[in-house]
């Protein structure tokens, strides 16, 4: 506990020790008195030191007047100090001044020393900080220089790559955007995605129904028959994935290529047809000129790689791209549509089948649609008699008596007065036969045997 008291008086007690000391003091008066006695020693040491200090100062003032002269430094009082000052001799004043000056000088020296120490410390810290900053700056500069050297190289490479990419994109964009063909004609055409304009750019076309004709910018004409799916690549190249086409290639466009899933057809100056069937099976037929028909099968040992197909010949590949043999003669009813006349004839045949008219020859023309009007002049022709469906699958409400023409050629002298009876309830189609010559002078060629209707 004595140590705690002494530590307390030195101001070095920790809070828990302080609490211990306080608790001990409050136990009883005896402890409090002991603590007070130690405090008295502490206080009197302070008092004695202060008195000693005062005595030393007085001794300085009176050192020329020793105690024998009548001044006792240990028992000096304020009156004694005043007495000294009252007896103020020049010498004493001088000594006091000198003492004060020495004390002041000592104090000033001490302050100067402390100031220099502080400045030295500040300078040392400043130098250390400057050195640290310089080192950091140096390292940073070195790092930046290194990065700059690498980054210049990387930057140049990036710029070069960017320019190349930009050029490729621009060229590709222009290439993709240029018009390579025009849709010149179509009949009953139904497109999966209808072209926005007649001008066709590289891309896919899919004809679900009908017929269409496109003309490339190099005058290559391609007639498409639905269902048909193709890609336009350039004026010199296209792909056919499904369907039938016929192409007319002028001399300046020799080399026009049609690529299919299994083959490549390269025109050598010709008029040809390509048909892609189920699974990619491809047939190429030449109507005039010749072409090179190549297999795209990857195995070089399987069959013939390519062959020249001459006029009126055809060749084909299997679905996996193997040429099935040499070129064969083109049959007469090859089924390719070489012109719009062929298309028209095809449509007529289709109509005949649909209208149950087995045949309409000569100058009889069957109309697919009912005409808007039958007034005089609205459907006039000197060359044709028009036939079109009036009503279909009608049940006769009552017996009908009239001329009935049996299937087969009908002669002009056919006795139309011969009547037969169609009984009520029978289902029939009714047609209207329309003839409206433009000019009475322009006579219907009834002497031409070919104009006889059937």
């Amino acid at each position: 506990m004595k140590n705690l008291i002494l530590r307390y008086l030195d101001g070095r007690l920790k809070p828990d020790q302080m609490q211990t000391l306080q608790d001990w003091i409050n136990v009883d008066e005896q402890n409090a008195r002991t603590f007070v006695r130690y405090c008295m020693v502490h206080s009197h040491m302070r008092s004695q030191c202060m008195e000693e200090d005062l005595r030393e100062s007085l001794t300085m003032f009176t050192e020329t007047d020793p105690p024998s002269a009548g001044v006792d430094a240990s028992s000096v009082s304020s009156e004694a100090i005043l007495g000294v000052r009252d007896a103020d001799s020049e010498a004493k004043v001088q000594r006091i001044r000198e003492f004060a000056e020495r004390e002041l000088q000592t104090y000033m020296d001490e302050q100067e020393r402390l100031r220099r120490e502080r400045q030295s410390e500040i300078l040392r810290r400043h130098n250390a900080w400057q050195e640290f900053r310089n080192r950091i700056n140096e390292r940073f500069t070195h790092l930046v220089y290194s990065l700059t050297a690498y980054s210049k190289l990387v930057l140049r490479a990036c710029i070069l790559i960017s320019v190349i990419l930009l050029l490729v994109l621009v060229i590709h964009g222009q290439y993709r955007q240029r018009v390579i063909a025009n849709l010149v004609e179509e009949m009953d055409a139904v497109w999966v995605t209808a072209p926005e304009t007649k001008a066709l750019r590289a891309g896919t076309l899919e004809l679900r129904q009908g017929f269409a004709e496109i003309q490339f910018s190099n005058q290559v004409t391609v007639l498409l028959e639905a269902p048909c799916r193709l890609d336009l690549h350039s004026p010199k190249k296209m792909s056919l994935y499904e369907g039938t086409l016929t192409a007319k290639v002028p001399k300046q466009a020799v080399g026009f290529t049609v690529k299919t899933a299994s083959s490549r057809v390269v025109d050598l100056g010709t008029e040809f047809g390509v048909r892609v069937g189920e699974g990619g099976k491809t047939q190429a037929a030449v109507f005039t000129g010749s072409l090179r028909f190549s297999s795209l099968h990857k195995s070089p040992t399987l069959g013939i790689k390519s062959l020249i197909v001459q006029q009126n010949q055809q060749a084909e590949t299997s679905a996996d791209g193997i040429l099935t043999g040499r070129a064969q003669p083109l049959p007469k009813n090859h089924g390719y549509l070489l012109s719009w006349q062929d298309v028209d004839d095809l449509k007529q045949r289709q109509l005949h089948e649909r209208l149950y008219l087995p045949q309409a020859t000569g100058q009889c023309r069957i109309l697919r649609e009912r005409p808007q009007s039958l007034q005089e002049g609205s459907l006039a022709s000197n060359e044709h008699i028009f036939v079109f469906l009036e009503r279909e699958d009608v049940q006769l409400p009552e017996d009908w008596v009239g001329p009935v023409i049996a299937p087969g050629p009908v002669a002009l002298e056919y006795p139309l007065t011969t009547s037969q009876t169609l009984s009520a309830g029978q289902r029939v189609d009714s047609y209207i036969v329309h003839f409206d010559p433009i000019s009475p002078a322009s006579s219907f060629n009834d002497t031409d045997p070919g104009s006889n209707g059937r």
Partner: protein, 182 residues
Amino acid sequence: MKKDSKDMDRQFKGQFAQQWTQVQPIVASYVRSMILSFHDAEDVIQEVAVAFAMSFERYDPERPSVPWVLSIARHKVIDYIRAKGQAPTVFDEKTLEFLARAYASVQDESQEIQEALQGCMQRLNERPRHVVNLRYMRDMSLTEIAQRLGMSNNAVYVMLHRVKDAQAECVQRKLKIQWKIS
């Protein structure tokens, strides 16, 4: 009339000086033991002296002056502690009051301790005396003393601790008593 007034004033001052001279050591000891900064303690002692002078008219000379002045000192110490902020290393108010009573009860020993200490201090060697002077006379902190003398803080602390312990032991030997520490 003026002469009578001056005589009364001189008489009053004489009585106050006499009382203050008697109580000053015990009051100083009390304040210095509660406020460990010598500089602040001297300020508070001066405040106690002023307050004692201001209230001296109400003082009954028949009653002991030490408890009266210690009461003033206790309040001044409390004011000081409150102004500084309650630190964890100061006594609470209850202990301050308890110690004030203890001071009053051992006031007679103060003079004896002071006289005994004079002899003990003269026996100090030069270096401990120098350290004691720097601490108790110049009011320097332990760090300042250590820097001044080129010693470590701990060495200064140990030296002061031993000096105070030796002085307390010396005082007890001279007084031929042993302060009881239970």
